[in-house]
Every structure is written in structure tokens, then in C-alpha cells.
């Protein structure tokens, strides 16, 4: 298929359909409403389901119901909307239901703003809902990568019977870039007859299925949490993804950055190279599981004197970076989260100032 020029939000919408997900429920919120607008006409074309719910709370439970009935389903929202969905996300984790949530982040806290942000990192990776629940979180850095991550999110959600989140900043949703939808990323939905409430007749069974997250017995609840924990540990082994950039040779500093912010960092690193300053980059593509080993090894490279976590937040991912570096090197944070993306010049200045201060 040839490349087409698409806005990120529209590419995310189309990617879900190409991945074989024909069910979408959503509530409008800037800066991702284009997904719902696109799918309001596109879903009927493919005999899919489109419904605008009355709130993010309701939408997240429509997702629960549909996922529990055994179909591929997804929704898109932005930061305040995801907060409202977090209740249902916890229930989805507890009941082990696969679904895909896209968060096109805007600034917070509260109503915050509508400009790009990465300030939902901790919410997505560590505090998405009550109880011991985790999401597999993927962070795209381009429209193309957003489309590919959406397409891979559905089979991953089914592999783990757990929600998967695509965590993009507002720029990923709003900017236009060429994109193609790789045929090889299409996948067949897994057989869900073992647990889905899809009707006994439908699965030719005489025993009913229950979708639930209530375990009043302490031992049973602990057992359910052990099952969930085992899945999260398996994610760390099998589905952690990252990109290393300019790390072949030695470097004076290492930047850890993801999403749109990582692209600005790459530009800054290229400009620094011309001045003879080498900086490596690790770009987490999954935020949970976090590429712990990649960050640790890159930080341990001989000659590297400092690690910089550059993010559009007031210092969230830096907690994971510090955890990985384990005190071997100084770890610094740099970021903004009002909606302005730090410029390459700011990053260059940051690197030079930091190196000269060591």
C-alpha cells in the first residue's frame, strides 16, 4: 500500500480498522477528537460499531462490556478523560479483559491545557487505577509508529488478556506525516470462547462464562493478583521495546527521552555532533515494561558521565531512569509541561551546561 499523508489521530483511527478492530466507543476531548470524527463515518463503511457515549466513565464501561463479550474494541481520549476511565481500566485488569486505550496527552493537572504534554507518564505506568493493575504502555514518536503500535496493540492485549495503552503526546495526534499500514501487522482475533460472555449457543457450550473482578475470599483474590503479576513479569521478559541511537561509539552524556521529545533530542544530538560533542540516546518505545537493561547498559558505557531524562513533564520518567542507573552516574531531569516543546537549542544548552558543571 502506498504512503498517504495523514494526521496522527486519523492514522490511529485507520490503523485500528486495518488491525481488525471494528468496535469503537468514545467521548470527545481535545486534542484527539479527530479519531471519533473519522470513525463516525469510517466505521459504518466497514460495518463496524461507532458510538459516542455520554461520558468517559460510560465509554470505558462500554469498552468493558464489549471486551467481555469477546470482540476487539478500543477507545481514544486525552488526559482528563483517561482519569475518568481509570476506574474501568482497573476493572478490566481485574477481570482480565483485552482492550486498547489511546491517550493523546495534554497538559495538566486539572483542566490544564490542550497543548502537548507527557505528564501522564506516572499515571499510565504506575498508577492507572486502584489495586495492583498495570498496562502495557507503548509510546510512539511518529505518526507511522503510532499506526504500527495501534496495530500491534490488539494482539498484545489478547496475548496478555490485559488492556494496552498507546501513550502519545498531543503532537503525535495533531501533526501530519506520511504513513502506511503494513499488511503484515494485520492479525486474526484470538479465540475467546474460554472466558468471554459471548453466549453459550455461540460457542456451542453448555457451561456459562463469568466476567468478574470480585473475589471475596482472601486466598482467591491473592491468587488472581498472582496471575496478574505473572503477566506483568512476562511483559518485562517478552515485550519490552526501545531504540538506541548514536550509541555505537563512545559518548559523554546519555539522554533518555520518548515520543515527540525524543525527536527534538535527536536533532540536538546531531547538531552537537558537529561541534564534537557526542551524546547517546535511549528511546523507550514501551514505558511499561520499561527498558531497564538498555538504559542501565547505555549508562554504563565507558566515557559516559551523566544521564539526562528529557521529558514534557515536571520529572516523571526520571524516577525510572534513576532506578535503572542505580546511582552509578548523576541523573538529571529537564523538561517543560505547559505545552511548549523544548527546542533543540535548549537541549544543546542543557548538555553543554551539564557537562561543564560535572
Amino acid at each position: 500500500m502506498p504512503k498517504v499523508l495523514m494526521k496522527g489521530n486519523e492514522a490511529i483511527a485507520e490503523a485500528a480498522i486495518r488491525a481488525g478492530c471494528l468496535n469503537y466507543f468514545a467521548y470527545p476531548i481535545t486534542p484527539q477528537s479527530e479519531v471519533a470524527e473519522y470513525l463516525s463515518w469510517r466505521m459504518p463503511e466497514v460495518n463496524g460499531v461507532f458510538l459516542q457515549g455520554e461520558s468517559e466513565v460510560a465509554v470505558s464501561y462500554m469498552i468493558f462490556g464489549a471486551a467481555g463479550a469477546g470482540v476487539r474494541v478500543f477507545t481514544t481520549s486525552s488526559s482528563p478523560g483517561i482519569s475518568l476511565m481509570s476506574e474501568a481500566i482497573s476493572y478490566l485488569c481485574g477481570a482480565q479483559l483485552p482492550a486498547v486505550f489511546v491517550n493523546i496527552m495534554r497538559g495538566g493537572p486539572g483542566l490544564g491545557g490542550i497543548l502537548p504534554s507527557q505528564a501522564d507518564y506516572l499515571q499510565a505506568t504506575k498508577g492507572i487505577g486502584h489495586g495492583d493493575c498495570r498496562l502495557l504502555v507503548m509510546a510512539p514518536a511518529s505518526v507511522q509508529e503510532a499506526a504500527e503500535m495501534v496495530m500491534t496493540a490488539f494482539p498484545l492485549a489478547e496475548k496478555y488478556r490485559n488492556p494496552v495503552m498507546i501513550l502519545g503526546d498531543g503532537l503525535i495526534g495533531q501533526m501530519m506525516e506520511p504513513v502506511e499500514f503494513p499488511d503484515q501487522l494485520k492479525s486474526e482475533a484470538s479465540n475467546k470462547d474460554g472466558w468471554a460472555t459471548n453466549g453459550m449457543d455461540h460457542r456451542g457450550s453448555t457451561t456459562r462464562n463469568l466476567v468478574k473482578s470480585l473475589f471475596l475470599d482472601a486466598e482467591q483474590l491473592n491468587d488472581n493478583n498472582l496471575i496478574l503479576r505473572a503477566k506483568y513479569e512476562r511483559m518485562k521478559k517478552e515485550d519490552v521495546r526501545w531504540e538506541c541511537w548514536n550509541t555505537e561509539e563512545t559518548y559523554d552524556a546519555l539522554i533518555v527521552s520518548y515520543g515527540t521529545m525524543s525527536r527534538v533530542c535527536k536533532t540536538a544530538i546531531s547538531m552537537l555532533k558537529e561541534e564534537g560533542i557526542e551524546v547517546g540516546l535511549v528511546r523507550p518505545q514501551t514505558l511499561f515494561p520499561f527498558p531497564e537493561q538498555a538504559v542501565r547498559q547505555a549508562a554504563q558505557k565507558e566515557g559516559c558521565r551523566v544521564v539526562l531524562s528529557v521529558e514534557m513533564s515536571m520529572g516523571q520518567m526520571v524516577e525510572d531512569v534513576e532506578r535503572c542507573v542505580q546511582g552509578a552516574l548523576p541523573v538529571k531531569w529537564y523538561g517543560k509541561c505547559g505545552g511548549d516543546v523544548p527546542t533543540p537549542e535548549e537541549i544543546i544548552d542543557l548538555v553543554k551546561t551539564t557537562l561543564s558543571s560535572l
Partner: protein, 258 residues
Amino acid sequence: MAKTFKKPDCMTDQKTHYCPGCTHGIIHRLVAETIDELGIRGRTVGIAPVGCAVLAYNYIDCDFQEAAHGRAPAMATGIKRVRPDLMVFTYQGDGDLASIGMGEIIHAANRGEKFTTIFVNNAIYGMTGGQMAPTTMPNQRTTTTPFGRKSDEVGMPIRVAELLGTLVTPGYITRQTVISPKYIQKAKRAIKQAFIYQMEKRCYSLVEVLSTCPTNWGMTPQDALQWVQDVLMPYYPLGDVKVPDSEKVTEAAAGTAN
């Protein structure tokens, strides 16, 4: 000898956890009988609420999902939209539906979602221990209104059936009770009719059932039944609030944006 009265196929053998004198068991049975008689058990999905009936799936034997508090109508919407061939019902209490879930029930009813709600109204929160519900009667004592519900502070009880009856979208909205065999038979007919409207893809359907909570009302089962008759029924009148044919509302009659 042939059995003429037996346990519905759609009920399990488990004894319920409901208190003596609670009418949940009767209402469960009416739902199960309806599923049996319509022959739909193999394509029915129930949604259990948060509240005393959260374990309804231990007794009603078909596919079930368990909701968060108040969210059952949104989950039913999700199931029904992606699998219109399934028969879907929510079973909700008054704290669940009329308080925390008021938004979800109004919008599901207004969209005309083709599922059925069994709304059990006993004027109190049962499972959490007898707190005030939006349906609690004026001056009724609960654990959070120890001096009686004061209407000037928290308003009058909400009549859910009448409230949903104001929606222009066609629907079947009725209020019944199960305090004696006469009323049980009427409630059964209403529940079956509600499921039939769903089967025919006609409309959203809700059966409100005035129920008892002897434990939290602090009454004997007999007194509780009498209290439904003397106190609840005058304020919550029985009967159909709305049937799908009662208003021939079409987009043409209402006027459209175009």
C-alpha cells in the same frame, strides 16, 4: 409422576445469601422463568450490579458480567452494540441505578438501547448496611439518616420510572411489586414483556420492582411487606409508565435539524 412446578433450568442449585424476607429471590426466579420460557438461555448475558445482587450469577445460570457500581447500563450497551443477537439484561438496585448510576441509565434509555433492566427498589442501600438511597422515603430512618430523611436537606425520593418515562425515545417502563402472589404474577408478565420487546428489537425496557429489606428497615418480613403496601406503593404507584406504542414519536413529528 410428572413435576408441574420445578426450579427453572436457568437457576443454579445454590441457596441464596439473601436475608429472610428479602424479595430478591422471588425476582431472580421471575427472571429465570422468563429466560426458560423464551428459550434464550444460550444467548443471554446478565449484568450483576454492585449491591446485594452482586452475586446474582451464583443463582441465575447464564453468561454474566459483573459491573462496577452504577455502570451496568454502559456495559450492557457495549455488549448489545457489538453483539445485537445476544439478549442482555441488567439487574440493579436503587443505590446502584438511581444514585451513582443515574447518568448511565438515563442515557442508555434515551438511546433506546435494546436491553432490559430489572430495577429493584427497596428504598435503601442494602449491602453496605442500610444507608440512605435516593429512593429513601421522607422521615425514613437509615444508618446515614438516623433522625429520618429530611427532604428539605436532601430532596424528595426520586421516582425513577416516571423520570425515565419523560424521555421522548420509545421505551417500555413499568413499576411492579412482588409482595403477594397477585402482584408476583403481574410482575412476571411485565418482566416477560420487557424481554419480548428486547427480542423484537423494539425498545429499551425497564421493570422497577418495589422490594423489601427487612434487615435494614428493622422489621419482620411480614411488616416489611405491609410497609411496601402502606408507604412505598402510595408514593411509587404501580403500573405501566410508558409502553412503546403510547407515543408515536418520529423524527418527522419532532422536527429534524435538516
